[in-house]
């Protein structure tokens, strides 16, 4: 041939430019409102926790990938994003060594031992959180409350569980829960900030609406049944939706890609089951909040839920 050789390859010849890095940047941007609110309510302690968590997660990722002889993949920002979500699930008083242990577990036991990103059957952040919950109960429950006067050391759900429904109005109103003027893990307190972030994620197509919406429907459904049966002792669905980690779990934890189903019906089932189990734990369980536990439990069903395929065209 006379002309120079042209490049030949299979289709498609163009790419949309989507990448894990872009998704993770969007993911972290979506967490910024919640992080900002946590700094406002909990003070500089929250910044320290977030900074330690993000930096140590990236550092562990670097070290572990070097030691294991894997190609470095820090630039896809999954480590940083995991560190940020993880910080959201810690109390503002979390000691530095505990955060470092947690991020180590995220990267090693949550991701790299399975062969790296995409092969992990569970959300590494949840694994680390559960390990810390089992090991350091005291350190995982140190609330401080900075903006405004000191009210209580218990979270709304602890008050509901151990003091009863009638004590809640003494400490919190629904508006407080919505804005975040309450106790809890640094990222879970402000429902409005999480909602803004979650909607941003859905608009940017980083996550689909199925899991968060069905998660909340599950919570509202079961708490509604409990409430209708016994309005004297059970809190109403709005309280259950706003208190504790439902928003954080629904938008940022349950939607972890490798450990959640991929098909629409699978995602809807997954979210709904997460919501139900959350309420079961809150109602009858030993823990006050079940949002994160339920996600971990239901993510074991993911391979099964992935068998629910959409109806193919022409089938």
């Amino acid at each position: 041939m006379k002309t120079p050789e042209l490049v030949v390859s299979t289709i498609p010849h163009v790419h949309g430019g989507n990448s894990v890095q872009k998704m993770m940047i969007n993911f972290m941007i979506a967490l910024l409102p919640a992080a900002g609110m946590s700094v406002y309510f909990f003070g500089p302690g929250a910044i320290v926790v977030i900074a330690i968590s993000v930096v140590s997660a990236v550092a562990w990722e670097f070290i572990i990938q070097k030691v294991m002889g894997r190609p470095l993949a820090i630039s896809n920002l999954t480590g940083a994003a995991s560190g940020l979500v993880f910080a959201m699930m810690l109390p503002p008083t979390a000691p530095w060594w505990m955060i470092c242990i947690g991020t180590f577990i995220i990267i090693l036991l949550g991701k790299e031992v399975y062969g790296g990103l995409g092969n992990n059957p569970f959300n590494g952040v949840l694994i680390a959180w559960l390990v810390l919950q089992m090991s350091f109960r005291g350190e995982m429950a140190g609330w401080i409350y900075v903006a405004g006067e000191f009210l209580t050391e218990s979270t709304p759900l602890e008050i509901l569980k151990f003091e009863g429904l009638e004590s809640i109005p003494e400490y919190f109103t629904i508006a407080d829960l919505f804005i975040g003027r309450t106790t809890g893990f640094i990222g879970e307190v402000s429902a409005i900030a999480l909602l803004i972030g979650g909607v941003f994620l859905i608009v940017r197509r980083v996550i689909s609406w199925h899991i968060p919406v069905s998660f909340m429907i599950g919570v509202v459904f079961l708490s509604g049944i409990f409430w209708l049966m016994n309005p004297e002792e059970c809190a109403d669905p709005i309280f259950h939706l706003l208190a504790g980690g439902v928003f954080l779990a629904a938008f940022f934890v349950a939607t972890d890609m490798p450990s959640s189903p991929t098909t629409p019906i699978g995602m809807l089932t997954y979210g709904f089951l997460c919501g139900l189990v959350t309420m079961v734990i809150r109602q009858w369980g030993a823990w006050d909040d079940g949002a994160f536990y339920s996600v971990f439990l239901i993510s074991m069903l993911t391979p099964l839920l992935d068998k629910i395929k959409p109806k193919a065209y022409g089938r």
Binding site: I101, L109, V113, V131, L132, M134, S135, F136, E139
Partner: protein, 205 residues
């Protein structure tokens, strides 16, 4: 003589029961919360493997094939009850801690496995070496897992404080999921190390 040494040492590395054959895992998971219970159970297992191997090997020509499992179980159960009684008589505290796990040595697949796979076909001396090696290998594995779990989980070793007093104790490792994770990591490390060794051997050859 060389074969005796070989049969003895294989249980220490090449065929170390819990990590290579993934045998006897329930006790590995259950009793490794502290060194003393791990060593206690390990001692019991050594005695039982040695005794059952020796007896099975001595009787190997007499035992009819069809009822061999029944005979093995009778022999093993006898050895286990001797261990239980002895422990009750002389190490009562340990006996209390280990509780159900001592009688459960009877169904530890390691013991029956060695009787069935090795002692049934080999001479008494070789069986003795095999049983001893396997038992010690099992005990060492227990000790390794227990050391990791006790030192990191509780900050102690044989009940003696080894970590500084400020150490908070990573109690996750003392709980059942911690045992699984610890065991999994040990299995992984064993594979990595032996793969490296094999590669070296190949490179040398």
């Amino acid at each position: 003589m060389a074969s005796i040494v070989k049969e003895f040492t294989k249980g220490l590395w090449e065929e170390v029961p819990p990590f290579r054959f993934v045998l006897g895992l329930c006790s590995v998971l259950a009793v490794t919360t502290s060194m003393s219970s791990a060593i206690g159970l390990g001692g019991g297992v050594i005695f039982v493997t040695v005794m059952s191997n020796v007896l099975v090997s001595a009787l190997r020509k007499v035992i009819p094939d069809k009822v061999r499992i029944a005979v093995f179980i009778v022999i093993i159960a006898t050895a286990v009850i001797i261990v239980e009684l002895t422990m009750q008589a002389y190490f009562y505290g340990l006996y209390e801690v280990l509780g159900i796990w001592i009688p459960l040595i009877v169904v530890n697949c390691l013991v029956l496995g060695r009787a069935e796979a090795f002692a049934r076909k080999q001479s008494v001396i070789l069986s003795l070496a095999d049983g001893l090696g396997m038992g010690i290998g099992f005990t060492l594995s227990l000790a390794v897992v227990a050391s990791i779990r006790e030192i990191i989980g509780a900050g102690t070793w044989f009940g003696i404080q080894v970590m500084p007093a400020i150490y908070p104790g990573f109690t996750y490792l003392l709980k059942p999921p911690g045992a699984f994770v610890c065991l999994g990591i040990m299995l992984g490390l064993m594979n990595v190390v032996s793969a490296r060794l094999d590669a070296k051997k190949k490179a040398a050859a």
